[in-house]
Symmetry: C2
Subunit: 327 residues, 2 copies
């Protein structure tokens, strides 16, 4: 078996290396899973670089979400057959050709689009919860988001459309505007200093109470200026590498609140019933093909270096995936 291992924090291209390893022996309550797909998420690269707030004990196998097929099961495992497609336990250890995990709590998946299923753990629930758990939204309400072409934003556009919520998506490239509009984006605008005026014009002067900021820096502040009095800006990413910058004209004069959203602790503080409810709603949509994001390219695990290089490039139009058991 092969695993993408890192023993120290640093530039993923430098610290991450593909290692051969002997297969792990199987305990009675465990299953062996052949990993089929795992995306390279920005958070994975931040984790390896040491800029992510969760710190793993090293050495660690990278990769925080993915799917695989059970290839062997321990003597005490019932209900999960060899060949069953499953969601990998999230967090770490997905970028390897096989993994051995406890069968307990493992989620079987219906056979469907492997690429789409492999991205189910992180981005779709983030989008789902941004729309559900911050503020009560009713059909006809508007939300606003930057990084409009990101996977989370695309999920937001699709989920909002299903709920009758209207979206303003702010992007930095004109070439993605038409595509996001086709996806269901009500308003798609280029970022810029006069953003608030253009948002107001494009939405017919809608009062927008909720914004999602994945960028940070001055982009956060521009988003805040588009919110109505008492609005909420949710910081859930830092793609610019800059801290959130928000004017006191927003915080003080317009009573805008800034708060964060992070999925990792949500899994810990939410009831199992709520976690399952969110997961099942998302899974049903993905299986039905009603919720999807584009895939840029799928790489074999052996081509990890190329995959990392591609994932670090701007201007892509989809996720980079690893296929540790063949593309």
């Amino acid at each position: 078996m092969k695993k993408a291992l890192y023993s120290q924090i640093g530039d993923p291209a430098l610290v991450l290396a593909l290692k051969n390893a002997e297969p792990t022996a199987l305990a009675a309550d465990q299953v062996r899973i052949k990993v089929l797909r795992s995306p390279i998420n920005p958070a994975d690269l931040m984790q390896i670089s040491g800029t992510y707030p969760l710190h793993l004990s090293l050495p660690a196998v990278a990769g925080s979400e993915g799917i695989g097929r059970i290839s062997e099961r321990g003597s005490g495992v019932a209900g999960l057959k060899v060949g069953q497609l499953v969601q990998l336990p999230g967090g770490t250890g997905c970028w390897q050709s096989e993994t051995v995990v406890s069968a307990r709590g493992l989620t079987p998946l219906p056979d469907a689009d492997l690429d789409q299923l492999s991205m189910i753990t992180i981005n779709p629930p983030t989008a789902f919860l941004l729309l559900s758990d911050i503020k009560e939204l009713s059909p006809g309400d508007w939300i606003l988001q930057n990084a409009g072409n990101s996977a989370v934003s695309r999920y937001v556009i699709q989920l909002a459309k299903m709920r009758g919520i209207k979206t303003v998506s702010v992007v930095r490239r004109t070439d993605v505007v038409a595509e996001l509009e086709t996806l269901g984006g009500d308003v798609v605008l280029l970022d810029g200093d006069d953003l608030a005026a253009r948002v107001s014009k494009a939405t017919g002067g809608a009062v927008i109470g909720l914004g999602f900021d994945a960028v940070g820096g001055t982009a956060s502040g521009r988003l805040a200026t588009c919110l109505g009095r008492g609005g909420t800006l949710v910081s859930y990413g830092a793609m610019s590498g800059e801290p959130v910058q928000i004017s006191q004209m927003s915080t003080i004069a317009n009573d805008v609140t800034l708060r964060g959203f992070w999925l990792a602790p949500w899994f810990c503080v939410s009831t199992p019933a709520r976690c399952k409810e969110v997961f099942c709603e998302i899974l049903a949509l993905i299986v039905a093909g009603e919720l999807s994001v584009p895939v840029d390219q799928v790489f074999a695990l052996e081509d990890l270096d190329q995959a990392l290089a591609r994932a670090s490039q701007g201007g892509r139009n989809g996720k980079v995936l690893l296929a540790p058991n063949g593309v």
Copy 2:
């Protein structure tokens, strides 16, 4: 009579001018007030400069709070005698030797320290409400604030002490540390990059749930790093002229919320009973001499230019006041 008038937005030293005017005639329900004291607040200078979120119709007489003595009353006015000390209606028009206002709702004041009474309208309720209306605080809880030597921060230190709430005040000058400690500040620290570690050490690792930011820029972010998980940073000033900068390590990873506080709309949305309750509690403390801030210098209205110049200087250790009817 004389009034400090401005007809256009701009540098207060350039656009504000002392004008002679005929006394206004008195209607039946009005009183004439000789203005005794009015502070030069940062918000006054921002208002004149056009950087304050409230815009007055121009020309306007500057000065947003103060006190005076009734010198004449209209034929229909009852209950307010000539010679009565009163709080000027807040907002505008305090930097003049006399003002004519409706007697209705005018608040009589007991004779006490004129300097201290003249600053009752804005900074003390701001401090009071920061401690009361953002988050439930119990004796023994800690709060954190920057601009520790400002008037609001000094009121916060005194009010917190009375309530058994402990304070960390962050300052930029070593020469004010001992004075703020004598005033009742539990911990007074110089701002700097390692602030969170020093705050933790000085408070014995206290989990601080509430911070007050009057500065903006990177100072906001440093304050945020000192807050515990789920803490709230309140933006109520912008003394640096910079937008609030706050890291996603605070917003996302540490669940810190940033919100604003602005006194002006508080007066509009609060019940008259609540407004009176807050005012009376503050007034009692000021009259008793238990709540006060230092005064740097008192200027005659004729010396407006010098007063403005002094108020714009850093390194002061108190408010600059105007005394339009004699120092």
